[in-house]
Amino acid sequence: MNGSVAHSRPVAATLSLAGRLAAFRTEGFPHIPVLIILTVVLVAIFANVIAPHNPEVGVLGDRFRPPAWQAGGTADHLLGTDHLGRDVLSRLIFGARVSIIVGFTAVIFAGVLGTTLGIISGYLGRWVDQVIMRITDAWLALPVLVFAIFLAAIVGPSVSNIIIILAAVFWTRYARIIRGEVLSIRERDFVRLAVVAGCSKWTIMRRHILPNVVNTAIVLGTLQLGVVIIAEATLSFLGVGVPPPQPAWGLMLADGKKGMMAGYWWLTVLPGSCIGLMVLSANLLGDWLRVKLDPQLRQL
């Protein structure tokens, strides 16, 4: 955490948007992961246009139909149907919507909360720092998943509750790391000059510190996106996440368990692959961003 490393970073902030994009299109850009994420986002946005069937209503006579290419499958249900006769493809498409909404919103909420607290803690120091960091320690003592399950069990399942819970559980990582960065930034000349120039603490934190930690927050956010999506799927799988009959990938896996012993593989393999692909893509993009935007975080 020495000054020289920090000095080399904020150059990108001065470039125009076009310049930044051009700088991004360099070697090692994770084309396929970005393509996958964009596809999932588009599918999520246009779910009601693309999906061939209503994801929440099934025809009981059509239960456990295999995918179209297997014996007994029909072209009407390309990827088969589940235990209530609901179209798997449509549920996967609408499930993308839940994953994207929960994933992105929770990461943004957690990021805003954690970054704010990290900046306040690192810049103000003294007792404020002590209070915030001790609370962070206590919250970090519980594994995120167990904490999330506990919270979900007391507030009850719904999409908005999940977002709040995941944000409430995941902000601690941001707070810790951002605070560490702020500790070195606040010793730098431009901050001292701002103090001399008579800027208020609030202005310094907002105008001078925040822009220097935004990169770190973005990298952390991308890296957490995958973890958050897995957490949402796990909560839904355990029955404390997205309430049925809403389509969510984790919920589909829980339902898929019912048909598994009979060999209905598509109910397990397909939703799980969606989660895996999405999380893998987010991780690959996050890894690349980390190297690109923030050399200090390479050790993470």
Partner: protein, 306 residues
């Protein structure tokens, strides 16, 4: 040293206090604790009875004091579902969880350490990239899905392994792989970076200069030192495994504390849930404390840190 240890113990106690306070307050902020403590479908009169019985009409700090003093004595109340003491119930499930965690840890070390070493020795070769990809895959697949796919393959199609339950060694195979999978990826990454660091050190260079065969340099001089962080972390990971096994234990119907937490949630057996969370937090805080103190014994520089 004494000051350091005392300070660490103080911080750990503070963490535990804040954690219990957080849990206590969250339960009271998010809803009526009487509803959570009552059995599902309790009448208005029952709820009032519970409020007086648990003293929920008293001031908050009085309630917290009684909550914490009972918890310290291992008294977390009665389970609604099992009709037994929650702490006893928890303790009766713990051995199964420890067994599963130990097996998962063994799996993750056996897979993670060799692959990590090979990746470090052949750094930037195809094997290294394959290892990195494997680690990323490990971190991207939810453990319950790995479990489900294994059940589908090994139980349903091949019929080799039992899909759920416990009792024999065969029952242990799939749950421990599902649980250890992610940790294998972590161990691989950690072994790789630790090995790379050691391989660049002076004493390894000296060993090479002495003309020792490469196998001896890596196997004897580098390997042992590179393993220190991996083994240290294994201690903490074991405790984390015990407390995050809820999904894997649910998928494989493994009778550990994770399964108990899941049952607690599905049966709305709130005392069980609360005890489980508090025990998890306590175990992790205590382990971290022990590791900190152990580190300070090994490495004097840590003691003098601010």
């Amino acid at each position: 040293m004494k000051r350091f240890v005392l300070k660490r113990i103080g911080l750990a106690l503070l963490s535990l206090f804040l954690l219990s306070l957080t849990i206590f307050l969250l339960i009271r902020i998010t809803g009526d604790p009487a509803v959570l403590l009552a059995e599902p479908g309790a009448s208005k009169a029952d709820l009032d009875a519970i409020r007086t019985q648990f003293g929920l009409d008293r001031p908050l700090w009085v309630q917290y004091w009684s909550f914490i003093t009972h918890a310290l004595r291992g008294d977390f109340g009665q389970s609604f579902y099992y009709r037994t003491d929650v702490f006893e119930l928890y303790m009766s499930r713990l051995p199964a969880s420890l067994l599963l965690a130990a097996a998962a840890m063994a799996f993750s070390l056996l897979l993670g350490i060799p692959t990590g070493i090979i990746a470090a020795v052949r750094v930037n070769k195809w094997w290294d990239s394959a290892g990195k990809m494997f680690a990323l895959l490990g971190l991207s697949m939810p453990s319950f899905w790995v479990g489900l796919i294994m059940i589908l393959f090994f139980s349903v199609y091949l019929g080799w392994l039992p899909s759920s339950g416990s009792g024999t060694m065969l029952h242990l195979v799939m749950p421990s792989i599902a649980l250890g999978w992610v940790f294998a990826a972590y161990n691989m990454r950690l072994t790789r970076s630790s090995m790379l660091e050691v391989l660049g050190s002076e004493y390894v260079k000296l060993a090479r200069l002495k003309g020792l065969p490469e196998a001896l340099v890596i196997g004897k001089h580098a390997f042992k030192n590179a393993l220190i962080p991996v083994i240290t972390l294994a201690g903490i990971n074991l405790v984390i495994m015990v407390n995050t096994a809820i999904v894997v234990e649910t998928v494989f119907a493994w009778p550990g504390v994770g399964r108990l937490l899941y049952e607690g949630i599905s049966f709305r057996d709130f005392p069980v849930v609360q005890a489980n969370i508090l025990m998890a937090g306590t175990m992790i805080v205590v382990t971290n404390l022990l590791v900190d103190i152990l580190y300070a014994f090994i490495d004097p520089r840590i003691r003098f840190e601010r």
